[in-house]
């Protein structure tokens, strides 16, 4: 703005010299700009580091170009065997036995690195299930609350309380949500069973069965419900904004034609607000997928060698089994095992996949929102 655009070769002799004030302004502006770009560069450096370290693990030069093994195998302990000729074999527990048998006396040393072998199918499936159930619960509760706030509520004490609650819920630390989930869903939520456990808070006989408040244990359901309450404030706020953006005229026209209030909402408001609600909710999904603390005590396990539907409960296991989840898996890999050359594959691979997943969701949300904003203008 103030810097004259001099050609680099030829100094313009007639250019006005910068006054002190202009220099000062320029300096202050540069400091502000510098601060802004520090943030951008720090973030870019983090992304770059993960991409550089992580992409070679997921992608490969040969067809099909993606390391399918990493995405389709369950995590397992990595065995590194070395024979006396200096050959190194990296393998899973079963392979280790075979190679040991084959090598016999020729085996020099064996190292085992927990969780670092195989792939990350278990954590991916777990995160997927958690997010899926969570989003169903959160959207149902969130949109209905938003409909109340924008369509039904009258100014008064109740709505003030609701708004205050939303505001405060948004500020509750995620680990406290974890405690809440543990206290409510894991230990106290109602289940239908014929044989209630001793620790149940309350047992209500229903004749054919009993409703026992004994909790859902650490399970997908507990974790997903906890996560749903973590993102509930985000969903409500976003949904309400979208509902309010629908012009008043739509509702007035509908009511003038004799529609009931519910018909008005269902036919003339929701259809126009829905795209916006869904796109904004994607950001909520990204957040739910990224949270670790709320699922630590409610759903996640450090290690599991079965997929949720392979357990005793069969297909119902997708709700009642505890699962591995990507963020918790990353925590386990980062905090519980020593860092070395063999653990890096699992670490950077999981972080890369996780980041790609979350960032795709976030980008999709931003792009869709921009597109919608251009489409719906009233």
């Amino acid at each position: 703005m103030h810097a004259p655009a001099n050609s680099a070769l030829l100094e313009n002799p007639f250019a006005k010299r910068r006054s002190h004030r202009e220099t000062y302004e320029f300096l202050v502006k540069s400091v502000l700009r510098g601060a802004t770009y520090v943030i951008l560069f720090a973030t870019a450096a983090i992304f770059l580091h993960i991409i550089v370290k992580g992409s070679p693990i997921l992608f490969q030069a040969k067809a099909p170009f993606i390391n399918t093994e990493f995405l389709t195998k369950l995590p397992e302990t990595l065995h590194v065997l070395e024979d006396k000729q200096g050959h190194i074999y990296k393998t899973d527990p079963k392979g280790a036995d075979a190679i040991k048998h084959q090598l016999g006396d020729n085996l020099r040393q064996e190292k085992t690195i927990s969780y670092s072998g195989g792939g990350i199918l278990g954590p991916i499936v777990g995160t997927f299930l958690l997010v899926l159930v969570c989003i169903v619960v959160a959207l149902f509760l969130g949109i209905s609350s938003a409909i109340y706030l924008s369509e039904y509520a009258k100014p008064g004490k109740f709505i003030e309380w609701v708004r205050l609650a939303i505001l405060n819920l948004a500020g509750v630390p995620s680990v406290v949500f974890g405690l809440f989930g543990l206290g409510v869903f894991v230990l106290a939520a109602p289940v239908f069973t014929n044989t209630p456990m001793d620790r149940a808070l309350l047992v209500i006989p229903l004749g054919f069965t009993q409703m026992s408040f004994q909790g859902w244990d650490t399970s997908v359901l507990s974790g997903a419900f906890t996560l749903a309450f973590v993102i509930l404030p985000v969903i409500i706020t976003a949904s309400e904004e979208c509902l309010r953006a629908v012009p008043m005229g739509f509702r007035e026209t509908s009511l003038a034609l004799g529609a009931t209030r519910w018909q008005t909402i269902w036919r003339s408001v929701l259809p126009f607000a829905m795209p916006g609600i869904l796109t904004s909710s994607i950001l909520g999904i990204a957040r739910a997928a990224g949270e670790t603390a709320p699922i630590m005590f409610t759903a996640a396990l450090a290690f599991k060698d079965k997929l949720p539907w392979q357990g005793e409960a069969g297909l119902g296991g997708v709700f009642t089994e505890s699962v591995q989840a990507l963020p918790y898996h990353i925590y386990t890999l980062a905090a519980r095992i020593p860092q070395n050359e063999y653990s890096e594959r699992a670490q950077y691979g999981s972080v890369f996949v996780f980041l790609v997943l979350v960032m795709t969701l976030a980008t999709a949300s931003v792009l869709l929102r921009r597109k919608l904003r251009a489409k719906y203008k009233w």
Partner: protein, 643 residues
């Protein structure tokens, strides 16, 4: 749609019957409305459920902790800790003196030690690289009847590998050219069956031993003083250990008895609800069999208290010995570090001696049967300086170390994040070109989507090493706290948390600046102010309340963040040592959120530890409510007029 119109169906109540709903004739419209009202009420319900679940598990903590503290007192553990306190202080002072001596002797031995250690390390690395071939040679030697040429071959391979490994080594410049040559030949010639270590290593070791002897001679007085300092405590330690054992035995008996009481109560309760008379009788019989022998605290405490005169008699000699030892400590060390440490010890010594002298008086005033009120359990939790769990002596749940850790990290993160995000907000809103805005805003919003566990991982794998390496750069040594001891520390965590808080603070601050009415800047510019003057004297001050609210909400995010601090803050449960000044930030710490995440998974449900963690949750919840409350007040109080 806020104004309420009577819904059409209720107007025509007489004409149209409300449709049937599960056989009941109810007004469908109002039913729908109630459904939505109910959903909205879920938010309030959730908030109450959070409070309920925290309180339900947490409130049991106070009586449990009260009981534990009562046993701590009645069994005499508290009495023993009166003696333990001066001993702990002595240990702390002693370690400082030791560090001072080491700093001084290092002036003489440092070089020789560096020369020896570098070679040891290099030897270790080379041996690790050639381990396989070394083993091959060993095996060839051990197997009877190995042909000599095969052995020679193995030896040759090892020598070659050694040579390659030596060539790869970057030896520090503490050796001269001649020594380097000798190192290279000696290390290359290493064989597993060599009777002696490489000659050069022996030379260097001898050199160090000699230097060490000279240093010990030179600082003989200082060393003696330190030894005397340590020896002065010996009789006290012996006495303490003797009575501590007695106290612990009493405590264990008390815990056993408490468990038996619980078991009996459970049996009786089971008997109450037993279905058959036989079962009831069985339960009662079992309950009867549980022996509940009252513990004779008074009798058991007597031998412990009886030691008091003996202890009292030990104090004057102890004080005299310490004073005599301090006489022998030189006034000034030969290095800056030693001098600083000696001065610190001299400064803290009078306090330590008064503590030691006062301890018998405190012990005399102490009563084993003084009751502990419930409120004391709460104050011990809120203001207690120790968080000690799974201890063989006594568990303490004092939240101060965690709170200071959380707050210090939050302050570090705020100090970094606030200037950056406010500057970025001002720049983006006032100076950036529209194209730059298009880039900056979504980019910073994007940061929000990075999961915290990923940032924590980056902290462990990248930032930690980066900080440590930077702190070893010679020309940066003026920075307090450098060189950094721990890779994972509060600064590292603060740095990453700052990045996490920036999006929240940036977008709120940017909104606040955006919301300053146009008329303000127009008026300012009309008066002839430059852009810079307008921004810093008109727009920014007008948006201050919003920026302050942004800061508070950012703070809330930082204090509540779990994964980053759990992974990166270093997890040392201790109140940071503030004597380092600003350098304190490079110490590891533990946090309120981190302790819950780390320990809850490992404790048994319902134990005092479990309850204590829920109490920490209550504290965190209150902090977050408080921050929200203050930020709302601020925004309301300083709202700009609408123009």
């Amino acid at each position: 749609m806020n104004e309420d119109k009577p819904s059409p169906s209720s107007d025509f109540q007489g004409l149209i019957k409300p449709p049937s709903f599960f056989g009941l004739r109810v007004d469908r419209q109002s039913l729908i409305k109630h459904f939505f009202t109910g959903s909205a009420a879920v938010t309030i319900l959730t908030l109450f459920l959070i409070m309920y679940s925290l309180l339900k598990e947490g409130t049991g903590f106070l009586p449990t902790y009260q009981f534990e503290l009562k046993v701590y007192r009645q069994a005499g553990l508290e009495f023993c800790d009166f003696i333990q306190k001066p001993l702990t202080e002595n240990t702390a002072l002693l370690s400082k003196l030791n560090r001072a001596v080491n700093a001084d002797t290092a002036t003489l031995t440092q070089k020789a030690q560096a020369r020896r250690d570098a070679l040891f390390l290099a030897k270790g690395r080379i041996e690790e690289k050639t381990a396989r071939l070394r083993e091959a040679v060993t095996e060839a030697l051990e197997t009877a009847g190995t042909p000599p040429e095969k052995l020679a071959q193995a030896r040759q391979a090892l020598t070659e590998a050694n040579a390659t490994a030596v060539a790869e080594e970057a030896f520090p410049d503490v050796y001269n050219a001649e020594e380097r040559r000798q190192i290279a030949t000696d290390l290359t010639a290493m064989q597993p069956d060599a009777a002696e270590p490489p000659a050069i290593l022996k030379t260097l070791s001898a050199e160090f031993t000699e230097q060490d002897r000279i240093a010990k001679e030179k600082y003989a007085g200082f060393l003696e003083a330190v030894e005397a300092f340590e020896e002065a405590t010996e009789p006290i330690v012996e006495l303490h250990d003797g009575i501590a054992e007695l106290a612990k035995a009493t405590k264990e008996a008390a815990v056993q008895q408490h468990m038996a009481e619980d078991a009996k109560a459970q049996l009786l309760a089971a008997a109450e609800s037993a279905k058959t008379p036989e079962a009831k009788a069985n339960f009662l019989k079992e309950a009867e069999a549980t022996s509940l022998e009252a513990i004779d605290y008074k009798g058991k405490i007597e031998p412990i208290v009886a030691k008091l005169p003996e202890y009292e008699a030990m104090i004057p000699p102890y004080v005299a010995a310490i004073k005599a030892a301090m006489e022998k400590v030189p006034q000034k060390g030969d290095t800056k570090e030693a001098t600083a440490l000696i001065n610190e010890v001299r400064k803290q010594l009078p306090k330590h001696l008064t503590h030691a002298e006062q301890s018998p008086a405190l012990m005399k005033a102490w009563q084993w049967d003084k009751p502990i009120p419930l409120i004391q359990a709460l104050t011990a939790f809120l203001f207690g300086g120790d968080w000690i769990t799974n201890s063989s002596w006594q568990d303490f749940y004092g939240v101060v170390p965690l709170l200071t850790g959380s707050l210090l990290i939050a302050v570090i993160a705020l100090v970094i994040a606030l200037p950056l995000s406010v500057a970025a907000a001002i720049y983006t809103n006032q100076f950036a070109t529209p194209r730059e805005q298009e880039l900056i805003k979504p980019f910073i919003e994007f940061i929000q989507a990075i999961p915290s566990v990923v940032l924590g991982f980056i902290g462990i794998s990248v930032v930690g090493d980066l900080i440590k390496e930077t702190s070893n750069i010679p020309w940066l040594q003026w920075i307090p706290g450098f060189p950094v001891q721990e890779r994972l520390n509060m600064f590292n965590a603060g740095l990453l948390l700052a990045l996490m808080a920036i999006p929240t603070m940036f977008s709120l601050a940017e909104d606040a600046i955006q919301n300053v009415p146009r008329a303000f800047s127009e008026a300012s510019e009309a008066l002839g102010a430059t852009k810079l003057q307008t921004v810093f004297r008109v727009i920014f001050p007008a948006s201050l309340s919003g920026v302050f609210a942004a800061m508070l909400l950012g703070l809330g995010r930082i204090v509540g963040e779990t994964m980053v601090v759990l992974l990166v803050a270093g997890n040392r449960i201790a109140i940071p040592d503030f004597s380092d000044g600003i350098g304190t930030v490079f110490q590891p710490a533990h946090t309120l959120t981190g302790i819950i995440a780390q320990e809850l998974g490992e404790v048994s449900k319902g134990s005092s530890h479990w309850q204590a963690l829920f109490m920490v949750g209550i504290l965190l919840f209150s902090i977050s409510l408080f921050i929200n409350f203050v930020s709302r007040k601020v925004v309301k109080r300083f709202q700009l007029p609408k123009i």
